[in-house]
């Protein structure tokens, strides 16, 4: 076993997910199966191989530092679960 239920709980909290005990155990089993499958990568020597983050030979794509129109505030707030005074409203953060 690579991942214990305790570690699964830790990863879940990092990912801002909460889970019931039985769901946690099911996930632990499935994630372990996938990670064990991925172990086959260790059969390959990759010491001097550069990693590929993406395939294109494009680097540092810049644009001119020019002001262009963006999304209107009203449009940006259209899908907000809660909005107030032109802002997204969330539960109180500061006591």
């Amino acid at each position: 076993m690579k991942l214990t239920s305790k570690e699964v709980a830790h990863v879940a909290s990092l990912a801002r997910l909460e889970m019931a005990e039985d769901e946690m155990e099911k996930f632990a089993g499935q994630l372990n199966a996938i990670l064990e499958f991925a172990d086959k990568l260790n059969r390959l020597e990759t010491k001097d191989i550069l990693p590929t983050a993406h395939v294109l030979p494009l680097n540092n794509v810049f644009r001119e530092d020019r002001v262009t129109p963006g999304l209107e505030r009203k449009a940006a707030l259209l899908n907000a679960p809660e909005a107030e005074e032109g802002m997204f409203r969330v539960p109180r953060v500061i006591e």
């Binding site: 990863v11 801002r16 990670l35 390959l44 191989i49 993406h54 494009l58 953060v93």
Partner: protein, 493 residues
């Protein structure tokens, strides 16, 4: 019957004024009404908008305006492509009320080309899956056999085209999500080179792998739709600034002298014998038409799935962090912010999405990054190099698209077993190459998919070979015996 028209046929009849755009859209809507209760391709049907858009095309034609490329052609879009003011759900509870304030670039290009949006199609939640069974809403059915899956994740788009509900559709392909459902549903599906079609407005799953592409009824239509959507876009920094060739111009160039590599690893155990036979027969046809084939070896093929299922979840765990109940989508009520995030995400995401977020978070977490994410990214380099080496000698690589034909709904329960479905398609995304799937035969009345893989930005070569094969095989003319509630006879024109 009108709804069976290809894009090219419909354009010709519209041009000659034999039919109107409104008649074409009405025929498509009647077809949706007749069959979609059983196929379940659509999450949203935009009937009124479609009728209005079609009428506008007719008015423009009447006034003598120059008509754009796809004027009046009914289309469907996978529901992870942002459509301004039209629900875009990713087949997820967390976005089931989301109406984007803008169009994706590919959508904008199609609207500008005059295509008529009929609706948004079902997918595995956030494009994570190979069957559409992971949709939070319902499972789409395969038009060839309603007890079977259409493939995934773009299963709704593939099924809508196969069932003649639309002339063409767009999907997205991260590890095979266009090509595998195209194979299962017996239509043409293309994943363009990474960077060829703008990803702006495609809701991100794994950003280094995602690419938008078309589903069509034949190869010519694929070239036509590619002409409309392949365009440099400054809004996507991975969009490549280069000219778009006319993909229809070289279609009939033939395959004489074309060098085709046939990697033995894609014909190994794990690929159904019937599938192998059908693909070998297609190869024989291409050789008879003048292509030169040679068996090759791509020894890192076997590592593709392991690499993908570390890299794609890692990117997804980051991309899906934005769903927190603040700016859009579902929000769970809670007393404090952290609890709101957790409850929103836990109730909003389905289990496959959670599984991948967890896997990705773990692969990127402190202490495991080198062992999993970095290792996978290094092996990705090996896979990419292996293709580049092969393409020094060959113009195309030919393989099956999927290891089997469409499987019955509800029969693959283990996640890892489901992942193995992508064995033939994943390496192509890892290397960023263009590839196309097209029907090359039938086994027990279910379509088999042939995959043609090309050099970066050599979509035209793939289309030329596919067209040569299609002209010879005639397979594309076969239709599923889908009756639905019965299609009224009066729509025959």
């Amino acid at each position: 019957m009108l709804e069976q028209c290809t894009v090219a046929e419909a354009l010709e009849r519209l041009e000659k004024k034999e039919i109107s755009a409104l008649e074409l859209t009405e025929a498509a809507l009647r077809r949706v009404e007749a069959v979609d209760e059983s196929v379940k391709a659509f999450v949203t049907v935009t009937k009124n908008e479609a009728l209005a858009a079609a009428a506008l095309v007719d008015a423009k034609r009447l006034s003598g305006e120059a008509m754009p490329l796809l004027a009046g052609i009914p289309m469907a879009l996978k529901d992870n492509l942002c459509t301004k003011g039209v629900l875009t759900t990713c087949s997820s509870k967390i976005l089931d009320n989301f109406k984007p304030p803008y169009d994706a670039t590919a959508v904008e290009l199609l609207r500008d080309a005059g295509a008529v949006l009929l609706g948004k199609t079902n997918l595995d939640e956030f494009a994570m899956g190979s069957s559409t069974e992971n949709s939070a809403f319902f499972t789409t059915r395969n038009p060839w056999d309603l007890e079977r899956v259409p493939g995934g994740s773009s299963g709704g788009s593939a099924a809508a085209v196969a069932a003649d509900e639309v002339c063409f559709a767009l999907g997205s392909d991260t590890g095979g999500s266009i090509r595998q459902p195209a194979a299962f549903c017996g239509v043409v599906g293309m994943k363009p080179t990474y960077g060829r079609v703008s990803r702006y407005g495609l809701i991100a799953f794994a950003s280094s792998l995602d690419q938008i592409g078309p589903f069509t009824k034949d190869v010519r239509d694929c070239a036509i739709v590619m002409n409309a959507i392949a365009r440099y876009d400054a809004r996507d920094t991975t969009s490549v600034p280069m000219e778009t060739p006319d993909y229809t111009a070289q279609l009939s160039g033939g395959v004489k002298g074309l060098r085709i590599g046939v990697p033995q690893e894609y014909f190994a155990a794990g690929i159904d014998q019937d599938v192998r036979n059908a693909v070998q027969q297609a190869l024989a046809v291409l050789v008879a038409l003048g292509a030169e084939a040679e068996e090759i070896s791509l020894p890192h093929t076997d590592y593709g799935i392991a690499v993908y299922y570390l890299i794609a979840p890692a990117e997804a765990s980051s991309n899906l962090a934005r769903y927190d109940g603040v700016q859009y989508g579902y929000r769970a009520e809670a007393d404090n912010l952290l609890e709101m995030y957790q409850k929103t995400r836990s109730r909003g995401f389905g289990s496959e999405v959670k599984r991948r977020i967890m896997l990705g978070t773990y692969a990127l977490s402190s202490g495991y990054y080198d062992a999993y994410y970095l290792k996978a990214s290094q092996v990705r380099t090996l896979i990419k190099q292996e293709f580049a080496e092969a393409f020094k000698k060959f113009d195309l690589i030919l393989t099956p698209t999927a290891p089997s034909t469409a499987f019955p709904v509800g029969t693959v329960e283990d996640p890892l077993t489901m992942y193995l479905n992508d064995i033939c398609t994943i390496p192509v995304n890892l290397a960023g190459l263009p590839a196309l799937s097209m029907p090359c035969g039938f086994v027990n009345n279910l379509p088999v998919g042939l995959q043609l893989i090309g050099k970066p930005f050599a979509e035209a070569t793939i289309l030329r070979a596919a067209y040569a094969y299609e002209q010879h095989s005639g397979l594309i003319k076969q239709k599923p015996a889908l009756s639905g509630k019965g299609v009224p006879q009066d729509e025959q024109i």
